[in-house]
Symmetry: C2
Subunit: 593 residues, 2 copies
């Protein structure tokens, strides 16, 4: 199935929901204009569709092979990766001083979506490299930056994150890998890491591993973990003492190697400290917002791809006669109300998750680029608040939409050749990696709601209310029940927020933790609905100004569908948070066997 | 991962929700006593756990091979199937006159659940054989019954349903396979069928295909389709003119061969008419309730298996320290509120879907066994009403629960060795085959709500209200908000039912069709909640009578969790049906691209 980059929807969301134009006007994006950004999006969309998308099925079929520690990726992957870096796509958000183009996270996010729509297994590699670049920029010594940044920015080399160990998954405090100072500024690293994405591959000549390990005298727990840069090949060209000891046979993203990495079989792998000793987790957290957002974008990406495939199938596949069909022939199944509901659900969830991700990206940009410190701090908190929602909601949407996509295909959806099933298999990793969605929900409730004593989340809810107020004032019947439905969702969110904030600030965590996942969903329904309403209001204004593009009417219809058919779940979620969650711990007696 | 048959939960649901004891008291089940039924369940559970469950992973890994038209199943499958039939399990519900044990559908349903928990790919084969037995009993000539029933009842031979053709999936009117009368009572069948489960295999010496085809003079559409019995080997031992031309590479149930069948390469396959000419679809419909219920049971089954696996993992896997944990060590993740919420959701959905399926089975039994014709007819309508809910809700639950199961495993869930991912892959077919869940929802709204002018559904809702009233009168605080939450769900269902009935009776189908899927879910939330409440009320009564089994308290806790955390979605579904659905057709403009 071909992929068509939805550039106009992407650009519209960037501009009219995430505030791209405002950021340009505010002078935050330097020379970048709206026109130039749209040109870049067009180019990226072409590359994604023409070069990467055709590899997706191959990657799934061939997977990767591991022979004598050497991994070979699927046919065509190395060439595509090389072409992609040579076209400058890896360097798009990178620092200008090291060959990057210094373009905004918002613009790069739109590109990340397209790379991952084309192929999630391809797209996850650069996400890790971009995260490592950030860590190096923020925490690397001048020497390390000089030695590694340029190659990483260009994509000549890739990078990995080595966090997980068999006993240390969500709980990084349990990390056991060790690092011993040699005395010359280097460290000897020993340990085993699992689930290391692109830990070994044949796309580039070198791989730069970022590895969490403990110094000999480190305190126990998370405050005794340091971050090290450990290259596959050392600066003198010698092979470092590390190897890929195995790869996982996974449900999906077969094209992406998931490696068990062994450091220090012999004398110990040589590494360099990144940031301060015992502050490794803080170094990780500085790049966490971006990496989590990027995984959220994978959810958007796979949802978009699954939607496109299901829609194309529904337009082609004919069965029976739809109600009210004209003429004698059979109807494409897209004419059936139940199929329409499925496809609209797919599209609306995809659009809402895209909007939330792009808003998060815009907040990250402002956190870095606002001239005033107070504005930067506010934007940073907004980004922190939205990041877990962007990650968890979007990746849940990826799975839900891909699953509906299988359903729309009927029996053909269950047959691997069709490709619909691959999207579901691929999508299923995103709610797990880069912090499970349960961890995201807990992060949102326990750490993000209390930001600035709750002012950050209250400001976000106030912005949603502003959108609802604008909707209320709209005279056109096109919006139907959009305004009251979204108002109800925002008010549910407001009440649930107050309830959880009280519990968290009073340090009564259990009930708040039990309500965290429904709360994140509720937040996303209200925020997603408000974001689609922002888009719809802009579309309505343009129509009033004579814009005859039918896409504008579609935006209003999609917003209304979301409000009337999806956001209506808000009340039930509020009930779960306000009353159901308090019983979860006691109900756990039912888990005895 | 081992499977433990949840015999006590199964027996409790049969007895205290589905009315097994009442049916025994009413004399509907002959000599069968509660004790004997429980003994049979124990035996079935042991067989499923000890003999079938160990094959499940092998079946997934090896799949089946097709060489020169001959299919070989995975190692151990043939032996297990033979042992299973020799133990008499295939004959359990079969007619006594042909070697069957004539046991109730309700008891067999519990067994079907267990076979499919052990292995869905194994369990689907007998479901088809049992369906064919029903068709033969109802529509076969004495000759055909004499020739085939005994072997099918014992499981010495298996049977298939040959419905689907490339252009005829949900729309059977488009069937093109042809049947020509020879003049000697046989017919020559020609055509191609796809997605034929166990269309070819090495488990038995013969396979009996039931094939839908058109006679030469048949009218177009569904009223021109006839049903034929077409054996792989003819009574004289000659090979019939039919073959397996290919097998599908599927997302899951790899152990089950899904075949393309070609009839009539040469002189035409020899077949015999089942039922009347051009009435083939009616013949199919007589066995539809049972087959759809059986697929619903597959949903229950895979949900149960996924839940058991996730629970075992959550008790073993340790990460960090849970809130309020005593002592110094790490906590099993089952002690974390978010994980508890996940596991309780899995268990509650599984229990609710089991209850609905067993209630459906009990209604089918009464439709066949009630002495009075009016009672039989009422039971038949109740079975007809509940069947699409049992099929669609339970299979959706299968997918949802299996997906949560992957999530509970974290990264390990995405690795195929763990087995959690297989459950998700296997589960995904059940919402598709035997009538997609969209078709089930449409069947529920368009054909089942109007039964007896709406009296059938109104009686069902009245029974739910009776349960709510009993809950209201319960003094114990154990139930928390169970009663008001379930009352709200039942009242939402009542309003939505009235709304849809009005549309359907007024022949305004489009809006009703758009609301069908949310309506089916709403029905299941109210019915599932009421069923769990029936179980909880029985448990509470037993506790009051001195029963100290902790399982009784668990049943109340699970019911309360369902009401407070799952049934609360009812209001949002009602909103979708009453207001959102009316806009779906207009919103379809958003699907243009």
């Amino acid at each position: 199935m071909a992929y068509h980059a939805p550039v106009s929807d992407i650009a519209f969301t960037m501009r009219h929901v995430a505030g791209f134009d405002r950021a340009v006007e505010d002078g935050l994006y330097g020379d970048l204009s709206v026109d130039l950004a749209e040109t870049i999006l067009e180019e990226a969309g072409r590359f994604a569709a023409d070069v990467i998308a055709p590899l997706n099925r191959e990657g799934d079929k061939y997977g990767v092979t591991l022979v004598d520690g050497i991994i070979t990726t699927a046919p065509g992957w190395k060439e595509a990766y090389t072409a992609w870096t040579e076209a400058g796509w890896n360097a798009l958000p990178g620092p200008v001083d090291f060959g990057g183009q210094g373009l905004p996270t918002l613009l790069n996010s739109a590109c990340v979506e397209m790379w991952n729509s084309a192929s999630m297994a391809f797209g996850i590699g650069p996400i890790l490299t971009m995260g490592a670049i950030e860590a190096l920029v923020a925490h690397g010594t001048d020497d390390l930056r000089a030695r590694y940044l340029e190659k990483l920015v260009s994509g000549t080399w890739t990078a990995t994150m080595n966090l997980t160990e068999p006993q240390a998954g969500s709980d990084l405090a349990a990390i056991r890998s060790r690092a011993e100072p040699v005395g010359d500024g280097t460290y000897r690293i020993r340990g085993q890491k699992i689930f290391i994405t692109y830990g070994e591959h044949d796309l580039t000549d070198n791989i730069v591993h970022l590895v969490l390990a403990r110094l000999p005298d480190a305190p126990a727990g998370t405050r005794g973990i340091s971050l090290f840069l450990v290259p596959k090949f050392l600066p003198d060209g010698a092979r470092n003492d590390l190897r890929c000891a195995g790869i996982e046979h996974k449900l999906g993203i077969h094209g992406s190697p998931t490696c068990t990495m062994v450091f220090g079989d012999h004398e110990g792998a040589i590494g360099w400290l990144l940031g301060e000793e015992n502050r490794g987790l803080n170094c990780m957290f500085t790049m966490m917002n971006n990496a989590r957002l990027a995984v959220g974008l994978q959810g958007v990406a796979i949802a978009e791809r699954a939607y496109q495939q299901a829609l194309a199938y529904a337009k082609e596949r004919r069965q029976g006669r739809a109600p009210g069909a004209a003429g004698d022939g059979t109807s494409p199944i897209v004419d059936y109300p139940d199929v329409q509901r499925n496809l609209l659900t797919m599209k609306a969830l995809t659009a809402a998750s895209r909007a939330i991700c792009y808003m998060t990206a815009a907040a990250i940009d402002r956190a870095h680029r606002e001239p005033g410190e107070a504005s930067r701090r506010r934007a940073q908190e907004r980004a922190s608040l939205l990041t877990p929602v962007a990650k968890a909601f979007s990746t849940d949407v990826g799975v839900e939409v891909a699953s509906i996509g299988v359903q729309v295909h009927g029996g053909m959806g269950y047959v691997e050749e069709t490709g619909a099933a691959q999207h579901l298999r691929d999508a299923r990793i995103a709610p797990i990696y880069e912090g499970t969605n349960g961890i995201q929900a807990i992060d949102l409730v326990m750490r993000k709601l209390p930001l600035s004593g709750g002012d950050t989340v209250r400001a976000q809810i106030a912005a949603m209310r502003t959108t609802v107020t604008r909707l209320m004032k709209e005279g056109t019947p096109l919006f139907g029940n959009t305004a009251p439905r979204l108002r109800d969702a925002v008010e549910s969110l407001d009440r649930a927020t107050g309830h959880l904030l009280k519990l968290v600030l009073a340090n009564v965590p259990t009930e708040a933790l039990a309500g965290a996942t429904p709360y994140l969903r509720l937040f996303a329904l209200a925020q997603g609905g408000a974001a689609l309403a922002d888009a719809a209001l802009a579309a309505n204004r343009m129509m009033g100004e004579g814009d005859s593009d039918p896409a504008q009417g579609s935006r209003i219809a999609l917003c209304r569908f979301f409000a009337e058919n999806i956001a209506v779940g808000a009340r039930g979620l509020e009930d779960q948070i306000l009353s159901g969650a308090g019983f979860v711990q006691d109900a756990a007696v039912a888990l005895a066997r």
